[in-house]
């Protein structure tokens, strides 16, 4: 499959996608609005719990670590050391001083990012992409926009797969990726051009395929998969609303 969707039999997977979309939108919105680091962390904690409930903790934390670790390091260095507005020095190495207030700002930004990245991945990992697109269109998003969303979700796994293929091919032709960091980065440069070109080519072919399957037809679209609103959806929505409300108030 081209998406990050992880097929599992769980309560979270079975939720109506609209519930997850709303939850994600609300948390993303609040992540930008809310300042307190602890509240933001509670939102992330909620996503973490959902990851366990969805039986995908391994994949979830692996992806999160992969994306968030570089961000954490960058933010800590940037705000803890380089932010000129920060003043409270807690430690000094040679000419670099680490500042507490800078660190706090850095962690706050990190908490914001973590909160909305976490919930986004819960949505993507646990929602069948067809349902996601269907729900988005039913919620009023034009189908083109809904499909762009899907294409974006598909883009990363596709790119990874392509990169791996091209790298294998280049290694088979004697490209060696070893040595120090600079050498490694240099070694990846020949990978980039073919990667970008083939992605563009494929994007073109993909858009042709969509045309041929009447995607841009002016007909009103129908949906094959049945989407039901179950009692559990109502109950879960209420519980989630209470939790999110609680986090805002505390």
């Amino acid at each position: 499959m081209l998406t990050n969707y992880i097929k599992k039999d769980s309560l979270i997977h079975k939720l109506n996608p609209a519930v997850k979309i709303f939850l994600a939108l609300i948390i993303i919105f609040l992540s930008f609005l809310i300042r307190e680091t602890y509240k933001l962390s509670l939102f992330s904690a909620l996503s973490f719990i959902l990851a366990f409930a969805a039986k995908i903790p391994k994949e979830f934390f692996k992806t999160l670590g992969f994306i968030m670790t570089p961000l954490l390091i960058t933010l800590v260095i940037f705000h803890g050391i380089l932010n000129p507005a920060a003043t409270q020095v807690i430690a000094t190495f040679y000419f670099l001083s680490i500042k507490l207030d800078g660190l706090i700002i850095g962690f706050n930004y990190f908490a914001k990012l973590l909160s909305f990245v976490s919930i986004s991945y819960i949505l993507i990992f646990t929602t069948n992409p067809a349902d996601l697109v269907a729900s988005l269109s039913k919620l009023g998003l034009p189908k083109q926009a809904a499909f762009v969303t899907l294409a974006t979700i598909q883009f990363i796994p596709l790119m990874e797969e392509k990169a791996k293929k091209i790298m294998d091919a280049q290694q088979a032709r004697g490209l060696r990726i070893i040595g120090g960091i600079i050498q490694r980065i240099k070694a990846y440069i020949p990978l980039l051009m073919p990667l970008i070109l083939s992605m563009l080519d494929e994007a073109y072919e993909r858009s042709i395929s969509l045309e041929l399957r009447a995607f841009f037809s002016k007909n009103k679209r129908t949906f094959f998969r049945e989407e039901l609103w179950r009692k559990t959806d109502t109950i879960t929505s209420i519980i989630l609303a209470v939790i999110v409300g609680g986090i805002i108030i505390v």
Partner: protein, 265 residues
Amino acid sequence: MITIKNLNFKYSGTNNYALRNINLEIKEGELAVIIGSIGSGKSTLAKCINGLIPHFVNGIMSGEVEVAGIKTADIDISDISKIVGMVLENPLTQLTGYGTTVEEEIAFGLENLGLIREEMKNRINSVLKLLDIEKIRYKDPFDISGGQQQRVVLASVLAMKPKILVLDDPTSQLDPSGAEEVFEELKKLKGKQTIILITQKMNIIRELASRVIVMSKGKIVKIGKPIEVLLDYKLLKRNNIEVPAETELLYKMNYNKKIMEMLKV
């Protein structure tokens, strides 16, 4: 079923015409095979039949293309897609990835046509049965063999019930057994559906084609029965087309000329 009159096409940004003065008539139920060397214009002609030219691809077009009595220039691609179904080389870029099962992949085009669920189910059942891929119905389309993927693409296109099916080198990215799977499906469809097949696989032509169209440098240089074309050593050589081993042999033994003469009478 398909009528092409004085068709010329030049891609924007290029100097040479990719198609020159194409005239072609394809009847209902025919299985016409187009052969020709690399860059001879086969895919460009296919794009003209399904409306990608002039609706999607930029360039200069003159002449007329009619499918099922309708001029392609006059209607949208999405409407043409109900008349002309198209299968391309690479199954991976033709699977939309929209659904997570084969069944949902097939449903994608039907959803776009706005069909009701019952009708979708009926059509999905019948194409799965026709192509004998019922057992992969609930499989992930990205998790099956290339041959199976191409059959799913074919199923997705057939479910839209096109009157004409155009296949542009549908087996070039498949291994021999995958290619065989796809050709087996075409044998089933032969006669029930108007089909245009572009392929490099000479051995399949003899079995499948009702007519062979030979293209070179943007022109149609020959339209004939499979045997007429396959045994014409000079025609194939002149147009840089792979010569079947038998033809080569016959030519070297000088039988070829006699056979050609026999065929003419």
